[in-house]
Symmetry: C2
Subunit: 201 residues, 2 copies
């Protein structure tokens, strides 16, 4: 199993490799990655060594092979279908973001309880009545929900999702959700990240 910190770094390496490909550069050395991220060269080499095939050659790593290898290891090609629950400012921004599909995230539909929003489409995805979620989740096998409802409704909506056979919740609301042991929650703590950044200022 790869640790969270290494997955985070591999994704950043992937961004760098993407840029190199856009600029038609074929090879990259580990110290070029290290200096861009302000980390140790030995750390980069250690991270790359866990990949099944790093594309290593005499002059460094072959960019396309290293990128492919990161994608295989992190499961980019494994499609993960998800619902967005809460078609507000953040939910809509996430729904309009096409880059998610290249990482394997496929947003199937959005759900809301606001009748003014239900029935609209965003980026070819329908906004449906939240009460239709249990049926659709069972019919499509979607078990990941991206939770972007206001904090006041986060826990009650999570309870509803759990009853609808949702097993994974990517939670953007600033609330620590209480869920059964067989449900996994990932708290996207945007403010926590900002405070980590500004704490040092």
């Amino acid at each position: 199993k790869i640790s969270d910190k290494v997955i985070n770094r591999l994704t950043l390496y992937h961004c760098i490799l993407d840029d190199y490909i856009n600029n038609n550069i074929e090879f990259i050395a580990s110290n070029q990655i290290a200096s861009l991220l302000n980390i140790d060269d030995s750390q980069v080499r250690k991270d790359i060594s866990i990949l099944n095939n790093s594309g290593k050659c005499r002059v460094g790593y072959i960019v396309k092979e290293l990128k492919k290898s990161i994608e295989m290891t992190l499961g980019f090609s494994k499609t993960k279908k998800a619902f967005i629950v809460g078609a507000g400012n953040l939910g809509m921004a996430l729904a309009k973001y096409d880059n998610f599909t290249s990482y394997g995230l496929n947003i199937v539909a959005l759900f809301d309880n606001d009748t003014k929003k239900i029935g609209n489409t965003v980026n070819n995805k329908l906004i449906l009545d939240i009460n239709k979620l249990p049926n659709l989740s069972r019919k499509t096998g979607v078990d990941i929900a991206i939770l972007t409802v206001p904090r006041t409704y986060a826990q009650s909506t999570a309870d509803f999702l759990v009853k609808s056979d949702i097993k994974y919740i990517w939670n953007f609301a600033p609330v620590v959700l209480s869920v059964p042991k067989d449900v996994q929650v990932w708290n996207e703590n945007l403010m926590g990240n900002f405070l980590q950044f500004t704490y040092k200022i």
Copy 2:
């Protein structure tokens, strides 16, 4: 200095305490926090012990005091003024989010290069021409930029920000920016977080 991991956990404890206050509960025990986050009770007590005043009493911690102490330690009351650069889907969602001010983040204005957007306001904040940023940054002393432009323009926009005396960039674009040593970048790696979550699925 407090590590990133501890700051992240303290912010989640703060969310839990906020909920307790909304439900008029006066005391909390460390094991209640631990079980909500699925972590060790000893970890919670260790984190709290670094605060200047934990509000510890016979029956656990006084919720209001513990919350205040986390806010003091993480600098919630220290106002951090920032510009949003790129008034697109994500930039607008961040600009409309009022909860940022309770963490000390004050978004002063947005900047864009799209003439259709320049001159509009969102959540009482003006969308200005990006070329006005250097002047405004010097006049207001704002040195934090939240970068939400498309990946293709991220590096060139970062170069422009550095020339405009911006010292801190909260970067949402999936690009590793190359900046001088005296400029600090925090990569908000949303996809990296999602992959950490789904990698284990």
